[in-house]
Every structure is written in C-alpha cells, then in structure tokens.
C-alpha cells in the first residue's frame, strides 16, 4: 500500500497494527462504516462483535487486565459512544488501559445536532484519562500513537479518539510511532528520589509491627512487579494484605498473606493495619472502602506510599514518606539499597508481631454456619476453589455479595487472574469481562462469579460468547435478592427490603440453552460438586445456577464510617452496634 493512497480508516488500522493490536471489541454504525469496510479487507486485526457497546468496553477491560495489553473498543457516534460511558468510567476508576475509538459526524456538521451526533469529547472528558477529536486525517496516526502512549504509561487509563466520518474517508499520510520522541507536556515519573529511598529502607528495616498494604498498582506495573514484591516480602518476613484490586499480586496461599483488608476484609488484616507501626503502601490508593473512618485509620503508624500518580498521595490519608514512581522500579531501588546496606529486620519484634497476628487469625473470621439442607454461598465458592485449583483459572465477578465472597474464598496465586469492578462497582461487568479474558486466553478456564441481579445487566453478551465459541462459565450465586442491597437494608434500614427482591427471574437453565449454551442448576449441597464438575467438563459456555441461602450476609463487615477495630464478625454482632449518623450518609 502506497502511503499517500490510504484513507483515514486504513491509516487507523495500520496504526493499530503497528501498536500490536490483535483484537478489537466493537459494534458498527453509520459513522464508523469506513472502518468496518477497512476491517473487512484485512486479516491482522480480529473484530469481536458484542451485543451492546457497554459490553465492548468491559470486554476490552477484561482483555487488558488479563494480558497487560491495551483493550481496544470501536463504537459508532451518538448512542454508540454514550453506551460506552459506563465502561470508560469503570476503566478510569480501576486504572485499566483502554483505547475507545468513537465515530463522529463529519467535521462540517459538528455542532449542528446532526443525526447521531453527540458531544463525545465533552461527555467523556471527565471519564477518560485523555481524549482527542481528530479533525485532519494527517493528524490521525500521530494521535493514535500518542493515545497508546498515554493509555499505557504512568497511571494507566481509558483514552477516547473521536473520529469524524470525513476524516476516516479522506486520504492522508501515515506516520509510524516515533519511539524516542518525548511527549511535549505529559511525562510520568517512574523513579523515586534517592534520599526518599534511603529513608524508606531505614523505616522498613527498623519497623517493629510492619505491614505491606498492596494494591492494583502492583498489577498495573506488570508481572515483574509482583515478582519483586513477593521477593521483598519474603526477604523481610513481614505480613502483607491486599486490596480488592490487588488480589493475586502476592500469592494468596502464602502464610505471610493475611487476606484482603477493608470493609469486607479479614479481622487480622484490619487489626494489623490499625496496630502497625510502619505501613508500606505499594500501589494502593487509600480508598474509603479500605480506610473506614479516616480519623481512626492506622493512627500509630509511619506511612510509606509508593504510587506513580502524585494525586494519589495525601488525597485521603496524609503519609509520612511519599515515593512517586512505578512499583517495579521503586521496589528495585529499595531492594538494591536494602542489600547494599546489609539491612536486617528486628527478628524479635517481628516474632512478637506475628504472635499477635496469629491470635487475630485464630478468630477464623471467614467461618460461617454450614448447612446440610441449603447451599451456603461461601461453601459453593470453597468447592469451586477446590475443584479448579489445578487449572489455569481466570475469575471475573459482577458486583455484590458474591463479589466479596469470591474475594474472600477464592485463592489468587498470580497477578492478572482476577478481574472485578472495584472503584465504580459496575453490575454487568463480569460477563463481558470474562468474554474479553477468554478471547485473550482461549485455552484457559474463565469463570464469571455472578449474582442473579447483576448478570441481567449484560446478559445479551451470551450471544457474543456463542458466536465466537467462547466457553466462559457463569457461576451464579442465586439468592433471589440484590443481596448486597438487602444486607444494607437489614443492617441500616430496619430490614425494610425496599425493591431488593428479584421478582420474575428467568429460568437460567433455559436461558442458557436458548442462547446456545448449557444450563445447569444445583439446589442442594450434595448436587454442588456434580454441577461444578459438569460445568468444568463442558466445552461450551455454561450458566451454573447455584441456588444459595437467601439471607446470608457478608462478614466481616466494617459498617460505613466505622474504624478498623469496629468490625461486625457475624450475625450475632449486628444488633449490638447501631451505625453512626455520619455513617448513614456514606455509601
């Protein structure tokens, strides 16, 4: 192909190919027809046709999170773009690199309320890391390359490129990505300052009651960051807790891992956070689900915070020692300093600290009352864990109680195998995300741990799974309630279950069959293993409808606005502690 003879759509695809893009999740429409025409005439890029644009963005998120590559989305103007907004916001909150290509009316019609016109750059400005409106075909390749750079570097995030139809049709010149060229204004900092590293090493070495509090930033930084983190945590012998977004950054079955922290975190993790004297935050952002009541958040500790985004520092919690930089780079700096300086930990203090932690652990905070008659949701997940642990398994979730139980009861041994909507909490995320992960890992086992309410939000994507023969497994913990809503109504609103019962649910078995998949159901504990085994043996997509206890609640729970030591550990706890007035206004 001669350079000058390419039209915008062809230039776009060439730029994507040069960026290593293999898959695009999309949905066509008038404004992007030139791109679809160009896609039709090439083989390098595979297009996955979703059933709603929202599904495309979540699929791209699942693809990105499970591979470390960029997830690419292609949607048409107007409603195509507006349907993508939830997914973009989700990717922004969870720092997922996504490029979303949106069609736009031709440049001369912009602003005229033309057919399917929406102010896409205006609408997506607050829900993207950056966005572009390309007005000249000769800017197109540069913008695409820049967009990939912005989406993947620093704190990753979604980037929108809005493409007027005339720009796609006009002929122009393609320019390759200039690898060495620095961006004129955007320059993320990856290395931390040397004297801050020295101070950090001193603090870490002299700690008596240390804890690593690590998060999604470790995953964002790449698999090598997880490796370095694991090495350093092992080297120190210190306890480590993970956020919801960080699960898998450190092996979940290692004895130094004391579980997730936060609202539904473990007793030992939250009490260790409260009582520690040195906190080493690695790529976590002091989210309110984690801190609980800020005024009582880890009051006795010196806090070290490694984060690539300076705006994460001192945003919610004031820290003593910020280290702005990339997790892998900064951990390398720290470990070098540690080894060069021959640093040693305080073994005696550490032994006492572990003894204390062991006492907290002995509370066995995740225990629940087993039943012979009814499937407990926790038990269903324990069985799922047991029967899949030898497999290369990727887990996605929807949002609700099932999501929290999945975080508590499944074990994540390596990064990029756990995908959940943490920051935005988007119901409907899990199925399309599983589709994206399965596209990236066709041979792997991909399971969406779902709730019966959430799954209805993007159920249409089963059709996508069918079309591309993606054998995703939807494991529904069916409590016939918006369980998380019901739990809050029980605890905070006098058990007035306003609109949280799921009426008129479909028959999920028949529903799976009607989409061309396999439906299974378990209603009694003794049916569970059989259903899971059958699900795992099926080379097609499956919905496993697991009928679970309708009234089960997620424990431990730190009620909104409460401190880490103020955990509800089980049903008996709840009546004893009314939620504060300040707590009632929090979400």
């Amino acid at each position: 192909m001669k350079n000058a003879q390419m039209n915008g759509a062809e230039i776009l695809l060439k730029a994507l190919t040069d960026q290593g893009v293999e898959v695009v999740f999309g949905y066509p429409g008038g404004a992007v027809l030139p791109i679809y025409d160009a896609l039709f005439q090439q083989k390098a890029i595979r297009h996955i046709l979703v059933r709603q644009e929202g599904g495309a963005v979540h699929a791209a998120e699942g693809y990105a999170r499970s591979t470390g590559k960029v997830g690419v989305v292609l949607v048409t103007s107007g409603p195509g773009a507006t349907n993508a907004v939830t997914g973009l916001t989700d990717a922004l909150m969870d720092s997922i690199p996504v490029i979303c290509l949106t069609g736009q009316v031709p440049t001369h019609l912009i602003g005229n309320d033309a057919f399917q016109e929406a102010d896409t750059t205006g609408i997506t400005r607050p829900c993207t890391k950056h966005n572009y409106l390309v007005k000249d075909v000769n800017d197109l390749s540069r913008v695409v390359h820049e967009a990939f750079y912005v989406a993947t570097t620093g704190r990753p995030g979604p980037v929108v490129i809005d493409l007027p139809k005339d720009v796609l049709q006009n002929k122009g010149i393609y320019k390759g990505a200039a690898a060495s060229e620095e961006h004129r204004s955007y320059r993320p900092q990856v290395r931390a300052e040397a004297d801050a590293i020295d101070q950090a090493v001193e603090l870490i070495a002299n700690a008596k009651r240390p804890i690593f509090y690590t998060g999604g930033g470790v995953i964002n930084s790449g698999n090598v960051a997880s490796k370095l983190l694991t090495e350093f945590v092992k080297l120190t012998g210190y306890p480590i807790t993970n956020t919801l977004m960080g699960l898998g950054a450190y092996p979940g079955s290692d004895p130094q891992f004391i579980g997730m922290l936060g609202m539904h975190g473990t007793y030992e993790a939250n009490l260790a956070m409260y009582n520690c004297d040195v906190m080493i935050n690695v790529g976590a952002r002091f989210d309110d689900r984690v801190t609980g009541k800020i005024a009582e958040f880890s009051p006795k500790s010196k806090k070290i915070h490694i984060d690539i985004d300076p705006s994460s520092i001192n945003k919610n919690v004031l820290v003593d020692l910020p280290l702005v930089g990339d997790v892998a780079t900064v951990l390398r700096q720290i470990m070098k300093r540690w080894k060069d300086g021959g640093h040693k930990t305080d073994k005696k203090a550490l032994a006492a600290w572990w003894k204390q932690i062991a006492l907290w652990r002995a509370r066995d905070c995740l225990s629940y009352e087993q039943s012979k008659k009814i499937i407990k949701p926790q038990y269903a997940l324990q069985r799922l864990q047991e029967l899949t642990k030898h497999r290369d398994t990727y887990i996605t979730t929807e949002v609700g109680q099932h999501q929290m139980w999945a975080a508590q009861f499944l074990k994540f041994e390596s990064p990029r195998h756990w995908m959940t909507s943490g920051g935005l909490g988007t119901m409907g995320y899990g199925l399309p995300a599983a589709i994206g992960a399965q596209v990236a890992h066709p041979k792997a086992l991909v399971i969406d741990v779902a709730g019966e309410a959430s799954i209805m939000m993007n159920i249409q994507e089963l059709s996508t799974a069918r079309q591309y023969r993606l054998p995703v497994k939807v494991f529904i913990l069916n409590n016939q309630y918006m369980g998380m809503v019901r739990q809050w109504q029980e605890l905070l609103h006098g058990s007035r279950y306003s609109e949280s019962y799921m009426e008129s649910l479909p028959d999920f078995v028949k529903l799976a069959e009607s989409f061309g998949g396999v439906g299974l159901r378990a209603t009694k504990p003794e049916e569970l293993d059989g259903v899971i085994e059958q699900m795992l043996a099926t080379d097609n997509f499956v919905i496993a409808d697991i009928m679970v206890d309708q009234t089960e609640n997620v424990f431990p729970m730190i009620p909104s606005g409460a401190a880490h030591y103020d955990m509800l550990l089980g049903p008996a706890d709840k009546a004893a502690r009314p939620v504060s007035e300040e707590g009632m206004v929090l979400v």
Binding site: G122, R125, L133, R184, S185, Y186, D309, K315, P322
Partner: protein, 174 residues
C-alpha cells in the same frame, strides 16, 4: 512538595499559574476538573502567551486547606496538555494584578467626585459622555474592590474585570 501534615488546616487563598498547550478543550479540562472535584475558582484568566510553541497561560485564584491546594496542583499536573503548574503564593513573592473597566453614570457633584476619586486611584477615563464615564483601573484585587465600593454611591452602573494575572518576582521564569 509542602508537607501538609505540618501546615494548618485553615482555608487559604492561592494563586496558581498553569502553562498549557493551546489546544481545543484544554480550558474545559481545567474548569471541569475544578467543578467535578468541588474546588473553588475565585478567578480564572487565560490567554495565549507563546504563539510559536502554542502555549497558553492560565492564572487561577482558588482557596482551600493545604491538603486541598496540594491536591489541586497534583490534579492539574495530571492533565495531559499541562506543561507546568506553579503555586505563586508558596513559590516566592509574586506580582498580582487585575484590570477593570467601570461605568459610572451621574451628574453634578457626584460626577465631579467620581473623577476626583479616580484620580487618587490612578484610574484613567477611557470613555465619557455628558452623563457617564468609563474608568480603567489596574491594580491588586483589593484596590479594585475599594474603588468599586467608593463608586457605588456615585452612580456605579457596570463592572467588567479581567480576574487576576500574576507572575513571580525576580529573574526566574515559570
């Protein structure tokens, strides 16, 4: 970075200079950031300052606790088309100026008095009719506030202000 732990939690006014790429949507990004995150804007001015490099300079007067001000600066620096952010209130002495055009409509003693006060404030007359003056006044915000206050009983009819522009004293550029 200032250490927010050591600084008081009182609300302070800060003047922040932001050097940005002069491209479509950049002002919307800055303003959207302030409204979306609930920060105050007391005044905001913007104009291109380097046509060749296509750079504009935005001066924002805002207020907040030390933690909020630090957060505002970090958020501004996060925007892709932002080159530089400087807190002129912290980074050393700065000159701050505002310009205003002020219309006063009156006759007789009031008209004479308005002219006399304008003279004291070194405000120039840039337009006049039998019944009206348009004064041009430059200075610190407080000076302009004071002038406007004095004009109120003398037939003040219309005010147009630029908002603050500011620059650090001394040799160093932004």
């Amino acid at each position: 970075m200032a250490d927010p732990k050591k600084l008081p939690s009182v609300i302070e006014k800060h003047t922040i200079a932001v050097l940005v790429a002069n491209e479509a949507g950049v002002l919307a990004r800055v303003i959207g950031l302030f409204s979306g995150r609930g920060y105050n804007i007391e005044s905001l001015t913007v104009a291109e300052v380097d046509a060749e490099k296509a750079q504009s300079r935005i001066t924002i007067v805002t207020s907040g606790t030390t933690q909020i001000i630090e957060q505002i600066k970090a958020q501004l620096r996060r925007l892709v088309p932002v080159f530089k952010v400087s807190d002129l209130t912290i980074d050393g002495p700065a000159v701050e100026r505002e310009m205003a055009l002020i219309k006063v409509v009156s006759t007789g003693d009031k008209r004479v008095e308005s002219l006399r006060i304008a003279d004291i404030f070194r405000a120039g007359v840039v337009d006049s009719t039998n019944k009206s003056f348009v004064f041009e006044i430059t200075g610190a915000t407080e000076k302009i506030n004071a002038f406007i206050k004095l004009m109120e009983p003398l037939g003040l009819k219309d005010v147009s202000r630029t908002g603050v522009v500011a620059i650090a004293r001394g040799e160093k550029p932004l």
